[in-house]
Amino acid sequence: MRLQRLYPGARLFGQAKALSVPLPKDLEDAALVAWVGDLLDAIFPIPVPATEPVE
């Protein structure tokens, strides 16, 4: 899993289709939200609908 390199401790549960990533410690609220945002951008890119331009 390449995920491991970026988010050490991250685990993918194939059966449950779930991903578990350890939360970083000592983050302020805003930074935590930003961290989750980055995570999503990295791993769950927005599917591009056929009619809409790429964001």
């Binding site: 000592d26 980055d38 056929a50």
Partner: protein, 1144 residues
């Protein structure tokens, strides 16, 4: 112009009396010029009070004075809409304008002449003393030394009401460092942002969406909102009176506590030491002119009587028949003689149209302009004749367009028409000067060979019909603030779980993953719990006999929740049950059918070919400029849209929705005119003969002076007329025809039909469907409807069905004064008499056909002088139409009717509504019926009466209270309006839908339509995944940021809607901006909430259903990463991952 008159020496004799009492006799058109000349003769430092018989006359005199005495300060002192003894408060706006005028009179610096114009009603009403001394509060942007708490205290002292959402004049709200306040005389409310003791920014904001308007305000004055201020003395007096008058105790107790009460002004004579006449507010050397002393005297007499009647009716009832309960006599109107005595030795003139024939009266010789009724050309010919005889003529019209048109008309007759800014002091003979200005009437001076014509005279309009008034430009409608105000017991719809009942709003601490040592700036907070707000909903019990299931809806899912509107008492859904899914499924299928139908119609239309009209002609511009009102922004946009549609080769099919009086007809007029200019014929189809008459009148007036052949076709035309019209339609001679369904009958052929305008299409029966369809083929169609179309629906079908909404009311429409109380003969008689006094008409609603004649007979006994007609649904159609038309033509004063007047009757002269047994009606119905009055420029009254003997149910009390509050943003009212929107949606979509709407609720139904339509367009994925996003973050709207619960809910809902995947990309930014605007800079929790919302939207777009912090981990699901994407993301992930790590 006055200079020219002075030189002509016509007024010489009259002007000798500039400094002494005099009675003038002269024609109407000359009285304002003489007034202006007298004012001038008295010098620049002269002041004047002009008293007219009616407020309409006061307005006309005001306009004419602006024209004849341009350097003078001319102000109107408007009268209360209420009578002094009536237990209703005058509107804050009127009070604001009155206080402004009184202050101006006091502060007059003698630099320019000052004129106060007052109707007899305001001139004779006694006033509280010292009103002009009340210094308004001042707000200056950038100013210092403000104390917001003290300011709020002062506002209460000058009778402002504190609320959480400012919507009406005389209200204010404080949130953090922001003050929202609506000054009585202002057009828009103001928002002041304070920082410490500094006023940082001052802006106007719009009531509808509570957002700031772009222009900043430098400085504002906050005048008192009432004329009776609750000073210590007044409060103490009220406290003392409490024990004396137990029936007034409630009212007096509130006053004693300093809380303003509706109708408290009527107690002013008892609460204040004394009341003073208007003359106390005038400069000591001001002259007083009474215009039309005969009419003024009669009106003064009637006013006094009616006012007394109210005193008897309202107060003797309130004090249980006790004789002379409180001495309120000081509140009586003065008599005209009383005013004259109070005026002391001020100069007193009267201007009478009658020649008294005695020696002392001064006659000014002049001829009125001859009338050319029915002949629009007559006046122009007359002017040309005068010019040939060497006369000098002035023609005054109110609009620039009309000035140009007058020049054209004269040029067409080879006469000299010269548009000028101001009338020259030295006019040339044989020239017609065309000036801009609104005059009452013109005059002719044969000796001086000088004539003045008003617009009505020149264009041959009937005087009096032209209700010209400059309307203030209303602001454009945007999103309306719709606080989700829920009360325990309200029914709501949750998109996933179905129909439930709102129980309460709770705060709960939730565990949110393990977090340690977090907090801003390294503060150590070691709680793993976060406080969240939830809405608790109750569902049907899963097992019989058990308590209902409960659902906690977090605030970030509020967009899934709507209030239920659509049916009476729906059954609650069972959580996890199949009923809800089934109901949704059925609705979804129906919705899909509707969407298919809409799309089909659309593609059929796109494939057909119609006539493409050319661009606007100069005539079109002339017609548009002659419009006597300022168009609302909605109107302008709609007109542009309609024209653009007409200019395309694809046939137009546009629906215009807007309440009666919002200006639909003008759109139709302009569209019709455009069509006629290209030689096309126009058919306008309306459902009733009354509408034929009314539209005929409007069209005829607007098309006056243009060669347009206009005909009506309904059962009120004789056979011969009808035959002529039909022949004219076939030969192409008739350009525009306005008719009822007779237009749809066989044998009617058009030579070249180009535009069909259909008013209230849904009111045509099924039997006309086919004929209608035939008529509509391949021509432009403009449909009009008075039922509101929901905004969401409008947006959903954009691009498929063209639609324009006229939502901006003409702003100076007064809110209707609403009185709720027990039925009482005296009240009814007084109300009817008051309306008759101003030559208005009355609707009396009684909803039982069996007893309606008895009620009418009773009413005839109460008010024997009133002419009474009866209308109900069991009359034959023909008789009913005749009654309604007769009523409109003012052959009756009172129409006793059932609720058939609920829709589609527009009688501007009827301004009092009395509803008998008002407790028996639903809120939307009351609202709808009340909408029948208040359409003209007169203040309207609505009396909702109930039977005193029968107990009033709680819901009925509730309803009546809501309607009396007259606040459209109120919770209950929104629902009532939704009821109307359901009808509107029905008109637009057609078909049977009420079942489905009842099944899933109106809002969800509309949302489904939106989804179905966009699915057909292939825009957005249908359906929406429910996302659980929980992070250990302190993200909420704290109470000290938004105090009011309903406004907090509103904000949560907006944010949650903006976070949906289907919302526009900048929706969250828009919400943030709105929050900043309305509540100030958001604190950290709110900023977090916004960030979380963005994240939410991001996650929803990625199709995730779970982003939840559990233990020390973040769980994300569904995590289905195809191999390709796993590889694909590896590259980019590295960089981002690193940045993530760096942050740690």
């Amino acid at each position: 112009m006055i200079t020219a008159l002075e030189r002509a020496h016509v007024l010489d004799a009259a002007l000798e009396s500039a400094h002494r009492d005099a009675d003038f006799s002269l024609i109407e058109g000359l009285r304002v010029p003489l007034l202006a000349a007298l004012l001038r003769a008295r010098g620049t430092a002269s002041a004047l009070l002009a008293v007219t018989a009616t407020s309409r006359e006061a307005q006309a005199v005001l306009d004419a004075l602006h024209c004849y005495a341009p350097d003078a300060t001319v102000l109107e002192l408007p009268a209360w809409e209420t009578l002094p003894h009536e237990r209703l408060s005058p509107s804050a706006e009127t009070v604001g304008r009155r206080l402004h005028a009184l202050r101006a009179a006091k502060q007059w610096d003698r630099a320019a002449p000052f004129v106060l114009v007052a109707s007899v009603r305001s001139a004779l009403q006694p006033l509280a003393p010292g009103l002009a001394d009340l210094e308004p509060l001042e707000l200056r942007a950038g100013g210092r030394g403000y104390d917001l708490a003290a300011l709020a205290g002062r506002l209460v002292e000058i009778a402002y009401t504190r609320v959480d959402l400012v919507t009406r004049r005389g209200e204010f709200a404080v949130r953090g460092g922001i003050l929202d306040v609506f000054p009585p005389a202002a057009e828009h409310p103001l928002r002041a942002e304070f920082f410490g003791d500094e006023l940082e920014a001052l802006r106007a904001f719009s009531v509808a969406d509570q957002r700031s308007l772009p222009e900043t305000v430098g400085h504002a004055e906050l005048g008192p909102a009432r004329e009776l201020l609750l000073t210590d003395a007044v409060r103490q007096r009220a406290a003392e009176m409490q024990s004396e008058f137990p029936t007034l105790q409630q009212m007096l107790a509130k006053i004693a506590e300093g809380i303003p009460v509706e109708g408290m002004e009527s107690l002013a004579p008892a609460l204040l030491d004394r009341l003073v006449p208007l003359t106390d507010y005038l400069p000591p050397d001001a002259a007083i002119a009474v215009l039309g002393p005969e009419r003024v005297a009669t009106r003064a007499l009637h006013l006094g009587e009616t006012n007394r009647e109210f005193l008897d009716a309202a107060w003797s009832a309130a004090t249980a028949g006790a004789q002379a309960p409180i001495d309120l006599g000081a509140g009586d109107f003065l008599s005209v003689n009383g005013l004259r005595t109070a005026a002391g030795d001020r100069t007193w003139w009267t201007f009478s149209p009658f020649d008294a024939g005695d020696e002392e009266g001064i006659r000014v010789d002049a001829e009125p302009v001859p009338a050319f009724a029915g002949r629009a050309e007559g006046a122009a010919d007359h002017v040309v004749e005068l010019l040939r005889d060497g006369w000098t003529v002035a023609v005054a019209t109110a609009g620039t367009g009309l000035v140009e048109r007058a020049a054209d008309v004269l040029a067409g007759r080879e006469a000299a028409g010269r548009p000028v800014e101001t009338f020259p002091a030295d006019p040339e003979p044989g020239v017609a000067y065309l000036v801009k200005g609104a005059l009452e009437a013109g005059f002719e001076l044969p000796e001086a060979r000088f004539a003045v014509l008003s617009e009505a005279e020149f264009y041959g309009r009937t005087a009096g019909v032209d209700s010209r008034q400059v309307k203030r430009l209303a602001s454009r409608r945007r999103n309306v603030v719709d606080p989700l105000q829920l009360r325990p017991g309200d029914i709501v719809v949750h998109q996933t779980h179905g129909i439930g009942r709102f129980v309460e709003l709770v705060k709960r601490e939730v565990a949110s993953g393990e977090r340690t040592a977090r907090g801003p700036l390294g503060t150590s907070v070691t709680t793993a719990k976060v406080e969240r707000e939830y809405l608790v909903l109750e569902y049907a019990p899963s097992k019989r006999g058990m308590p209902g299931d409960r659902l906690f809806v977090p605030m970030d899912q509020l967009d899934l929740l709507t209030r239920y509107v659509g049916g009476e008492a729906p059954t609650l859904s069972k959580m996890g049950g199949s009923d809800w899914a089934a109901a949704k499924g059925r609705a979804r299928k129906a919705v899909r059918d509707i969407a298919v139908e809409l799309v089909k119609l659309y593609s059929a239309r796109m494939a057909s070919v119609g006539h493409a009209f050319g661009p606007d002609t100069p005539w079109q511009r002339e017609l548009e400029e002659a419009f006597p009102f300022v168009e609302t922004p909605d109107q302008l946009q709609t007109i542009d849209e309609v024209k653009a549609d007409m200019q395309r080769p694809i046939p137009m099919d546009r629906l215009i929705s807007g309440d009666v009086g919002y200006g639909k007809t003008e759109v139709a007029v302009r569209a019709a005119f455009k069509a006629v200019q290209e030689g096309k014929q126009v058919a306008m189809l309306v459902p009733t003969t009354l509408l034929v008459r009314q539209h005929m009148e409007t069209f005829a007036e607007r098309f006056a002076g243009f060669p347009v052949h206009l005909r009506a076709l309904s059962r009120f035309q004789t056979d011969k007329e009808a035959k002529d019209t039909i022949a004219g339609l076939a030969s192409g001679e008739v350009d525009v025809v306005i008719g009822t369904h007779r237009l749809l009958s066989d044998g009617i052929r058009f030579k070249d039909l180009g535009l069909v305008i259909i008013d209230e299409e849904q009111r045509f029966g099924v039997e006309h469907k086919d004929a209608l369809k035939k008529l509509k083929t391949n021509v432009d169609i403009l449909a009009m409807s008075a039922t509101p179309i929901p905004r969401t629906l409008e947006m959903a079908v954009t691009g498929i069905r063209e639609m324009s909404t006229l939502a901006t009311p003409p702003e100076d429409r007064h809110p209707i004064l609403t009185y709720v109380g027990a039925y009482n003969d005296k009240t009814v008689a007084a109300a009817v008499r008051r309306e008759l006094l101003r030559e208005g008409q009355v609707f009396f609603v009684h909803n039982r056909v069996s007893s309606i004649n008895r009620v009418a007979a009773q009413l005839a006994e109460l008010v024997p002088e009133a002419r009474i007609a009866v209308a109900h649904g069991q009359l034959s159609e023909h008789v009913l139409e005749q009654v309604i038309v007769d009523f409109w033509e003012r052959r009756f004063d009172v129409l006793v009717t059932t609720t058939i007047i609920e829709t589609g009757i527009d009688i501007a002269n009827a301004n009092t509504l009395i509803i008998d047994r008002a407790d028996k009606y639903g809120l939307s119905q009351l609202h709808q019926i009340r909408g029948r009055v208040g359409r003209g420029r007169e203040r309207a009254y609505a009396y909702f009466l109930y039977d005193d003997d029968k107990p009033l149910s709680e819901t009925a009390t509730d309803r009546l209270e809501t309607i009396a509050a007259n606040n459209e943003l109120g919770g209950g009212m929104q629902i009532a309006l939704k009821d109307l929107e359901i009808r509107g949606a029905g008109n637009l979509l057609g078909g049977e839908q009420s079942g489905h709407i009842a099944g899933v609720g109106f809002d969800l139904y509309l949302r489904m339509i939106g989804e179905a339509v966009s699915a057909f367009r292939g825009d957005v994925v249908e359906g929406q995944t429910e996302l659980r996003l929980e992070l250990p973050v302190d993200a909420h709207l704290p109470e000290d940021y938004i105090e009011s619960e309903r406004l907090r809910l509103e904000a949560y809902q907006k944010l949650s809607t903006a976070a949906a995947a289907t919302s526009a990309d900048d929706a969250i930014d828009a919400v943030l901006e709105e929050l900043r605007d309305r509540y100030g800079e958001p604190p950290e929790q709110v900023a977090n909430l916004i960030d979380v919302s963005r994240l939410r939207r991001r996650a929803q777009k990625a199709g995730l259903s779970d982003v939840v912090a559990m233990g020390g981990n973040l769980r994300i699901a569904p995590a289905e990463l195809p191999d390709s994407s796993r590889c694909g993301c590896s590259g980019s992930t590295r960089g981002r991952g690193c940045s993530g790590r760096r942050r740690r």
